[in-house]
């Protein structure tokens, strides 16, 4: 057997370090989904009627889909049937008292986030990052709120936005990802519990990174969060999300929706470090990550940039895209997706060019190790009226060991002859030669693999905010543990 495979196995056996469970009393709704459950969730959140109606409309549509085609079947992933009646759609830590400040958060939850490296006390560590922490179905804390409010920036939980800024939520909710978009987005629209909301007013450059940290804790619970970011004319915001979950034998469903809207000359940079529990080395357990993320570059000269590092989850199904509606708007997608053990990822992007002189860039780096299956799926569509559109796509796959797979499905639809399209793709294997070379230079097998993989991902990592680029590199090394010799 090659040493290649040997080391891969050693690395793969490394434990997931965020797999602990927090003992906390939860307020949950009964299993299963029907209109009563939707009403119950909405009531628990004291929602206005328009919100409940939107949920019900979504639920009815979903119930219809459930009976007809159900989940989309086109993705290159395999999993057993999901029993939607067994899922708990809402679970919130039981408040010990009414929350008015961070000091009143359950110390168990504070400790959980500390342990995850996300201190919620504002003075600590990432001084330049404001965090919204979501625990199971609800947001438990948002830091630096007052400081941001001075600039007119709204950064709060989605639930709070529904109550305090209904005009903004009503205007933009579903404007990028309509409730009918796809099976999972529709489900999310019916049951979403919380998430983050961000509004950056005209001409304001958000002075710090905004970040949401998602934590699934309760068993048999689905997490359905929803994020909405609106960048007004000439504004700028950089946003980052991270996520982890306990190790459990059973699969858990995570179906999120993220909508971004950028108006004239506005820029949104959205980064994700996804580290959901990936299941054990035999492929048991892990999060099913079915996510719909889309941005609308609505204004002239607007720009939306997605950067994702996907190392966790048993299954990843996500295609963060950009609708390039404004003239001269720019869409970017930088992705690293790693699948180890029995993880499966079908991920990529959609760039829809509508406005004139719109540009998009796609850089996708897929890494497969163990029995991992990694698929890039991308659509670049140039509409009839989109004169002068340009796209550059680079799509690279790296294989570690001989039991994994890499697949590429690039779709290109061009309806305007002035478009310029470039597509580059490569597949390579981490070679024994490379590993031996690095070992001869005193590096351990693990360090060697991690160095090779990090080099492979460099173009994506440099798009991440500094602090997180370092985290991402570390995370990649850990996720690869056991992978090469």
């Amino acid at each position: 057997m090659s040493t290649d495979t040997n080391t891969i196995e050693v690395l793969a056996n490394r434990e997931y370090q965020y797999g602990f469970v927090t003992a906390i009393e939860a307020d949950s709704v009964p299993r299963g989904l029907n209109e009563d459950i939707i009403r119950l969730i909405s009531a628990k959140k004291n929602e206005p009627e328009w919100m409940l109606n939107w949920r019900l409309k979504s639920y009815r549509h979903w119930a219809g889909l459930q009976e007809s085609e159900a989940e989309p079947k086109w993705a290159n992933i395999r999993y057993g049937p999901i029993d939607y009646e067994k899922i708990v759609y809402y679970s919130a830590p039981k408040p010990k008292a009414k929350l008015n400040s961070l000091e009143e958060i359950d110390p168990e939850i504070l400790a959980t986030f500390e342990k995850l490296g996300i201190p919620l006390t504002e003075q600590k560590r990432f001084a330049g990052v404001a965090v919204d922490a979501v625990f199971d179905s609800v947001s438990v804390a948002t830091t630096f709120k007052e400081k941001l409010a001075e600039l007119g920036i709204i950064f709060c939980s989605f639930s709070e936005a529904v109550k305090k800024h209904p005009e903004l939520v009503q205007k933009y909710l579903g404007s990028v990802v309509p409730y009918t978009d796809n099976f999972f987005a529709t489900l999310n629209s019916a049951v979403f519990s919380d998430g983050s909301f961000c509004y950056v007013p005209k001409g304001v450059r958000c002075p710090m990174e905004l970040s949401t940290y998602f934590r699934i804790n309760a068993a048999d619970t689905g997490q359905f969060e929803r994020t909405l970011i609106i960048a007004e004319e000439g504004s700028y915001v950089s946003y980052l999300e991270g996520c982890t979950a306990p190790m459990r034998d059973k699969n858990q469903l995570h179906a999120a929706v993220v909508e971004l809207v950028a108006l004239d000359d506005a820029q949104i940079k959205y980064s994700t470090i996804q580290n959901w529990y990936p299941g054990d080395k035999d492929g048991k357990g892990g999060i099913y990550n079915f996510v719909t993320k889309r941005g609308k570059a609505l204004g002239r000269n607007s720009k939306i940039s997605w950067t994702q590092v996907e190392t966790g989850a048993a299954i990843t199904w996500k295609y963060p895209g950009v609708i390039l509606q404004g003239d001269n708007s720019v869409g970017e997608f930088y992705s690293v997706a790693l699948t180890n053990n029995y993880q499966q990822a079908d991920t990529g992007t959609k760039m829809i060019h509508i406005g004139q002189n719109t540009r998009s860039t796609i850089v996708s780096k897929g890494i497969s190790a163990g029995h991992g299956q990694n698929t890039y799926r991308g659509l670049v569509k140039i509409n009839k009226g989109a004169r002068g559109a340009r796209n550059y796509t680079q799509c690279d796959s790296l294989l570690i060991g001989d039991k994994c797979g890499a697949h590429t499905f690039p779709y290109i639809e061009v309806k305007n002859a002035t478009a310029r399209m470039e597509h580059e793709a490569s597949t390579s294997k981490v070679g024994e030669d490379q590993i031996f070379y690095l070992k001869q230079r005193a590096l351990s097998a693990e360090d060697a693999v991690s160095m090779i993989v990090n080099g492979f991902c460099k173009k994506v990592f440099k798009e991440l905010p500094m602090e997180f680029a370092v985290e991402a590199q570390k995370l990649l090394s850990i996720s690869l543990e056991g992978s090469v010799g």
């Binding site: 040493t3 070679g431 024994e432 030669d433 490379q434 031996f436 070379y437 690095l438 070992k439 001869q440 230079r441 005193a442 590096l443 351990s444 097998a445 360090d447 160095m451 090779i452 990090n454 080099g455 492979f456 991902c457 460099k458 173009k459 010799g485």
Partner: protein, 256 residues
């Protein structure tokens, strides 16, 4: 420092080294010469710990320890360096970053303080000057898009920075023009010291005009068939390997 006794090595079913004996002391430079396919590179790679080669019998001690029991990175940490015949590319990994990681891995193993960027840079600058390495080369990814000559020079540059105790140069001269050859030789000669040993594996005598060896060994078909001083290399250049091979076949007693 290095003691090789009756070393037999095979790849698959094919025996490539058929009983090598070689002793290298600190301060010495040994040249291992031989025709293509004689096993020169195999010897170099076995000493560095390449797993694809299987040692069937024999022993190799390095500073009194069993070298064959050590994993490649331990050998490197203890000062064994191989300048590769075909250095591989590591895309996206900066040369400087890589070299610093290598040096610090070695320092850590030896219980020395790891160097930070500020301490590392002056050291690198000094060695760059010695090997006439361009700044720009340092900022590129390891061997990525390097010409054959640049790759070889980069190997010697790495050697200069890592300062090994036992350096093995595997056909470092192949693919070098005469100017590059002189620069490489300068780098190697600067490393010569009473504490250090160097094994130069080469097909041609040319490099040995610039790196003058203390001993020359002729490897033919997996065996060292002749050893001598630097003049042996010149004789070989003159008469070719065929002559040596013929000589060996006629005198069966020519064993050391």
């Amino acid at each position: 420092m290095l003691d090789i006794k009756n070393l037999h090595v095979q790849v698959g079913d094919r025996e490539i080294l058929k009983g090598i004996d070689l002793q290298v002391n600190a301060g010495e430079v040994h040249a291992v010469m031989g025709p293509n396919g004689s096993g020169k590179s195999t010897l170099a790679l076995v000493l560095a710990g390449r797993e694809t080669y299987e040692v069937i019998s024999g022993e190799v001690t390095y500073d009194g320890n069993n070298l064959l029991e050590m994993v490649p990175e331990e050998r490197a940490c203890r000062g064994v360096f191989l300048a590769f015949q075909y250095p591989v590319e590591i895309p996206g990994v900066g040369n400087t970053y890589f070299l610093k990681a290598a040096l610090n891995a070695i320092r850590k193993y030896r219980g020395l303080q790891e160097l930070d960027a500020m301490e590392f840079l002056p050291l690198v600058r000094e060695k760059m000057k010695l090997l006439e390495i361009d700044d720009q080369l340092l900022n590129r990814a390891v061997n990525e898009g390097f010409s054959g000559g640049e790759k070889k020079r980069n190997e010697i540059f790495q050697m200069a920075v890592l300062e090994p105790r036992l350096a093995i140069l595997d056909e470092t001269d192949s693919g070098l023009d005469i100017d590059a050859l002189k620069i490489v030789a300068k780098g190697v000669n600067a490393l010569r010291s009473p504490q250090r040993a160097i094994i130069v594996v080469t097909h041609y005598q040319r490099l040995l005009n610039y790196i003058v060896p203390d001993y020359v060994h002729v490897l033919v078909d997996g065996r060292i068939v002749k050893s001598g001083g630097k003049e042996l290399a010149l004789a070989l250049e003159d008469q070719g390997y065929a002559r040596v091979e013929a000589e060996i076949q006629s005198t069966t007693t020519a064993h050391f």
